[in-house]
């Protein structure tokens, strides 16, 4: 009976099949396999090595010899914490002859609060986190930093990934009174936001907001470019335009919400003060009409000084809520994506190609649609979520994902280099409760991760020039934040204070003048704040620090799954003549002098150990000594920050 009913349903639905069998066949939409661990000789203790070595063997290749301990600790410390190991840490590791010395090192790093700061940055790139609106006014979001701190904390706690995603998608629905969940759901409004004076294009702005909310879930969580189906059926992937708008319908009720952290009395006092300033400004602007030349500029200055009296915004949580009141507008399929051409009304439904044909939409009675979406995304057998997540971990340890297009697992994306390994890791991840740290541990303890990067094998280069199969460890250039943080660390100035509003550090006046509202840049008064880790510097969309920009930092506008690692002359100019590099060179020189006033040999040794993480070779020492015999120490310090030995992790 049951079977025949199912058949009957199938028969009806088949008439209106949402997706053909061919469309559903794409590898990433298939259930994860349970791959057998390949047998390799000699046997591999770590399954990762079995998969990697089996694939290498097919090409007649093999893993490289293990990296030396000095390089290994620098590699793993940067990878997990974004910071270099101190010389003491290097010594302790090198001298630890215990067989589990490396394991202990990995565990120590995973437990370090620095871990969350580093891995949060990857997530923040992905969700294009910023503390300003972007566009014309680039208005600051004075409470957005709480989301950044939430992400750091979540990584440090090794919060299950499913919970992490659910809280961000639907924290406010789950418990509107919970502050941490309110902050997490601020995720839904991280996109750039256009505001303008004059006539408001309400419908078009709302369309942009909904587009941002929908597309980021596709890119960051599902690794599918759903956004391509906004104007028409997806050209390459089986995503119908209608299904795009059904996805968007989960967000139809979402509105901004500021959760106050102050009392009613404080808020009304604040409002009174603000209203007074606004009224005064309005009056002045009235008087300004028709003024010209000096009179006008005098008046403009006066307006500015009055505006400066406005009270600082009160603390609040940057969050969202569902509003099914009169603001609520159901989602329609938009012809060619144009908000002026609404078609059929649709209701929430998750990605159709992964649902049975004819799967129903959520009815209007469902008032927590994002919770429902989160449930679907985080079910153990969602074929995309776990694969996409483990691929990101792999990517940040090896510089390239098993799927080289981390935000696109669709047909335009690349196929996995090691499909069985990808599924194996995803299965492990799910079975282990969706926790990141055990997965890091498995990867980092593998021979694959621990092999040397220095090997040059002609045959391997010929067969696999891009090292996709990992016949050596792929050395990498430090990312922008790592370079700055490592400089601060070497100078002894790094301020490890955690959390709080994004810090504005001094920048060239010319850059401030290139801002539409230069007064937005308020340098932190406490100088120690200028030496905070880069993850705590303000993420301002219209003023990226040139230092960060030149080293390929994310632009905070579009999801950035992987940083480029470009090499070009402006980077050299930044490190030779830039403000940050020179300030750091002075600080390092001062530290070297403090360490040893005159002994060049000691200074050289100290500098190398702090900057490159190792002692200099005989030749490096000789060249350094020759230089210092006639040249200033601060130039030597500057040179150190320009070395490949500093800028790359081997």
């Amino acid at each position: 009976m049951k079977l025949s009913l199912t058949l009957a349903v199938c028969a009806i639905v088949a008439l209106a099949a949402d997706y053909t069998a061919g469309e559903r066949r794409h590898w990433a939409f298939q259930k994860r396999s349970v791959p057998a661990i390949p047998a390799v000789e000699p046997a591999a203790a770590n399954p990762i090595d079995a998969f990697i070595r089996a694939r290498l063997a097919k090409e007649g290749l093999q893993l490289a010899a293990p990296a030396d301990k000095v390089r290994l600790i620098r590699r793993v410390t940067f990878d997990l914490t974004g910071l270099p190991p101190t010389p003491q840490e290097v010594d302790a590791f090198v001298n630890d002859k215990a067989p589990n010395a490396y394991e202990k090192l990995v565990d120590r790093l995973l437990a370090s609060p620095r871990y969350g700061e580093r891995w949060a940055q990857h997530w923040l790139d992905l969700v294009r986190f910023a503390e300003t609106d972007g566009f014309e006014y680039d208005t600051h979001r004075p409470d957005a930093w709480r989301y950044r701190d939430y992400v750091i904390k979540s990584f440090n706690e090794d919060k299950p990934y499913t919970q992490f995603l659910t809280e961000q998608l639907a924290g406010d629905e789950i418990d509107p009174a919970n502050h941490e969940l309110a902050v997490a759901s601020g995720f839904n409004r991280l996109g750039a936001l256009r505001k303008n004076a004059g006539n408001q294009e309400v419908a078009s702005s709302r369309n942009e907001v909904l587009t941002e909310m929908t597309n980021i879930v596709g890119s960051a969580m599902l690794g599918v470019t759903v956004g391509c189906a906004r104007c028409h059926d997806h050209k390459f992937d089986p995503i119908r335009q209608k299904d795009y708008y059904r996805m968007q319908a989960h967000f139809a009720a979402v509105q901004e919400r500021e959760v106050p952290l102050t009392s009613e009395a404080e808020r009304s006092a604040w409002k009174a003060q603000k209203d007074a300033v606004d009224a005064e400004v309005k009056e002045l602007k009235k008087q300004m009409k028709g003024l010209q030349g000096e009179d006008l500029s005098r008046m403009q200055a006066k307006v500015k000084s009055v505006e400066a009296k406005a009270p600082a915004p009160l603390p609040a949580l940057f969050s969202v809520r569902n509003d099914y009141g009169e603001n609520f507008k159901p989602v329609h399929v938009l012809h060619r994506g144009e908000y002026t051409k609404p078609g059929e009304e649709v209701h929430p439904r998750s990605l159709g190609v992964l649902l049975p044909d004819g799967a129903p939409e959520l009815g209007p009675e469902v008032k927590n649609p994002r919770t429902e979406l989160a449930k679907w995304i985080t079910t153990d057998d969602n074929p995309l979520t776990a694969r996409v997540a483990v691929n990101r971990i792999w990517l940040h340890h090896f510089g390239r994902g098993l799927v080289a297009t981390p935000n696109d697992f669709g047909r335009m994306g690349q196929r996995p280099s090691h499909p069985e390994l990808l599924d194996y890791l995803a299965n492990q991840f799910v079975e282990g409760g969706w926790k990141w740290k055990p997965l890091h541990r498995m990867i980092l303890l593998s021979d694959t991760y621990r092999q040397s990067s220095l090997l040059e094998v002609a045959a391997a280069k010929e067969k696999d020039p891009d090292n996709k199969l990992l016949w050596r460890y792929p050395k990498r250039r430090l990312e922008a934040e790592e370079i700055r943080d490592a400089m601060l660390s070497a100078t002894g100035r790094l301020n490890l204070k955690t959390g709080g509003p994004g810090v504005m550090i001094p920048v060239q006046q010319e850059l401030i003048q290139l801002m539409y509202k230069p007064e937005q840049w308020v340098v932190a008064a406490d100088q120690k704040e200028h030496d905070r880790r880069s993850v705590y510097l303000i993420a301002k969309r219209n003023l990226r620090l040139p230092f960060m920009e030149v080293f390929d930092s994310s632009d905070m506008l579009i999801s950035c799954p992987r940083r480029e690692a470009s090499t070009h002359a402006p980077q050299a100019l930044e490190l030779l003549n830039g403000r940050i590099a020179n300030e750091m060179a002075d600080a390092l020189a001062a530290r070297l002098t403090e360490f040893s006033a005159k002994d060049h040999a000691k200074q050289v040794d100290f500098a190398w150990r702090w900057v490159a993480g190792r002692a200099p070779t005989a030749e490096e020492r000789k060249l350094s000594m020759e230089f210092l015999a006639s040249q200033p120490l601060r130039e030597y310090a500057l040179a150190m920050f320009n070395l490949n030995a500093f800028l790359y992790v081997e």
């Binding site: 090499t567 003549n577 040249q631």
Partner: protein, 465 residues
């Protein structure tokens, strides 16, 4: 196990290091690794370089290149219904049409109308293809500026300049391939992201040249460091980098080479930025030294010098900071436009004349325009609001047919009614003149082959020689 070794030893490198930056063998070894090496265009190119003269804030077509006698007749009345609807940022539905106080005359052999705001551009009208039917999608500055620069109304996409360098590489090893010369009076609404490389790698990013003697950030030595010391520091950097195990690795080698380029930029670029070596006659042509024009004159002259030295794309911005320091004439068009025109007209015309007499105009495409035009309706009695349905841009040089008028707006300058050209047609034409095909010039980004034009644009054939 084979270890690959470079064919030349380290000492030989050192000999070359600071003697003319020869290292030819070295650079040929890097050719593949240098993404800025010049690339062949898809099709034969007419223009090697582009200068975009960006009139920020949106100059009025009605006051400049698009005479509308009927608008003067209807001045003070409501827009007759048959002209259709328009959406503005500020002007409300009951706004009244406003005629222009400018007078137009026909100039050149082509007899093209130019208003009395532009006496200098009137002289070069036979070199211009004036497109009177440009359309864009947005009436707010930020989104409209993004669309003009990147083809998209949201930030995060690569600008024209970044696309051009991505497609063609750089002809100069001592200057940045893509330069933006902003107006020192301040930033524009769309901010830095509008000029940016978006998701293209950072090598395609713009270099913003600031006013003054040291336009490029970080090109000057920090104070207190002398050049001789710095030379030795650079030598040390090279020696230590080459002493490093595996220095022959292409990526390490590329970084070592980037220091040569940086040093070359540092020593040679300032010569290009120095306009004092130009003849007095040239300075006068642009209006350098004349209070009104000096600022824009310097930028236009610098644009020529940059292109002369192989820079691929230059964006010269006129207007910046508060709206009344841009072409954004909300309050009083008769106060704003004559002032803005006086600052820019002579330098703009001089740039065309100078390029022409140096034989550079044929290979340099110059494009003039704002992010939109201005409304036929009055705003607050004397101003004009933003307007995207029909406005004017012009092109010159680089295979463009001078003395041409393309398209037309209706009789009140509201809407492009003949041969309308969306901004993407402007983009397509710019690419086309550089020998770049809008479809081939693409970058796979998160599952989409992204292009400057997004949708298909048309080459404006009528504008081509």
């Amino acid at each position: 196990m084979e270890h690959s070794r470079p064919t030349r030893n380290r000492r030989e490198f050192l000999t070359d290091a600071f003697n003319g930056f020869g290292a030819l063998a070295f650079s040929s070894m890097l050719q593949a690794a240098n993404p800025l090496a010049p690339k062949a265009p898809h099709e034969p190119a007419k223009a090697k370089a582009v200068i975009l003269l960006f009139m920020a804030g949106g100059p009025s077509h009605i006051e400049t290149f698009d005479p509308k006698p009927l608008l003067n007749e209807l001045s003070g009345q409501k827009r007759p219904a048959h002209f259709g609807e328009a959406k503005y940022q500020f002007v409300s539905k009951d706004a009244r049409l406003m005629g222009t106080k400018r007078t137009f005359k026909k100039y050149g052999q082509s007899g093209i109308d130019v208003s009395d705001l532009f006496p200098h551009q009137a002289k070069i009208v036979d070199d211009l293809a004036i497109i009177r039917s440009v359309q864009a999608d947005m009436v707010v500055h930020s989104a409209a500026q993004y669309q003009l620069m990147t083809g998209r109304i949201i930030p995060g996409f690569p600008s024209m300049g970044s696309w051009a360098v991505y497609g063609l590489g750089s002809e100069s090893d001592s200057l940045p391939a893509y330069c933006v010369l902003p107006d020192p009076r301040g930033a524009l609404e769309a901010g830095q992201p509008m000029y940016g490389n978006g998701f293209l790698p950072a090598i395609y990013q713009p270099t913003v040249l600031r006013p003054g003697k040291t336009p490029v950030l970080n090109l000057n030595l920090p104070s207190g460091v002398d050049l001789e010391d710095r030379r030795k520091t650079l030598k040390l950097i090279r020696e230590l980098n080459e002493a490093n195990q595996g220095f022959s690795d292409p990526e390490y080698a590329a970084r070592i080479q980037s220091y040569d380029t940086a040093f070359k930029m540092q020593t040679e670029a300032p010569k290009v930025f120095d306009i004092s070596t130009e003849s007095q006659e040239t300075l006068d042509l642009y209006g350098v030294g004349k209070a009104t024009t000096d600022d824009m004159a310097r930028r236009c002259l610098l644009a020529r010098k940059l292109v002369e030295k192989g820079v691929r794309f230059v964006c010269v911005v006129h207007g910046g900071g508060p709206g009344d320091q841009q072409w954004d004439a909300h309050a009083d068009i008769e106060e704003n436009h004559p002032r803005m025109a006086a600052q820019s007209d002579q330098p703009v015309a001089a740039l065309i004349q100078d390029l022409k007499r140096r034989g550079m105009l044929d290979s340099t495409l110059v494009v003039w325009g704002g992010e939109f035009g201005r409304s036929p309706e009055a705003e607050g009695g004397k101003g004009r609001d933003h307007h995207n349905l029909g406005f004017t841009m012009w092109m010159a040089g680089g295979g463009i047919k001078g003395g041409t008028i393309i398209g037309a707006t209706d009789d009140i300058g509201l809407r492009a009614v003949e041969e309308p050209h969306h901004l993407r047609d402007i983009h397509t034409t710019i690419l086309h003149q550089m020998g770049l095909n809008q479809h081939q010039l693409s970058f796979l980004h998160q599952g989409r082959r992204e292009r400057l034009t997004e949708l298909e644009g048309q080459v404006i054939k009528k504008a081509l020689a």
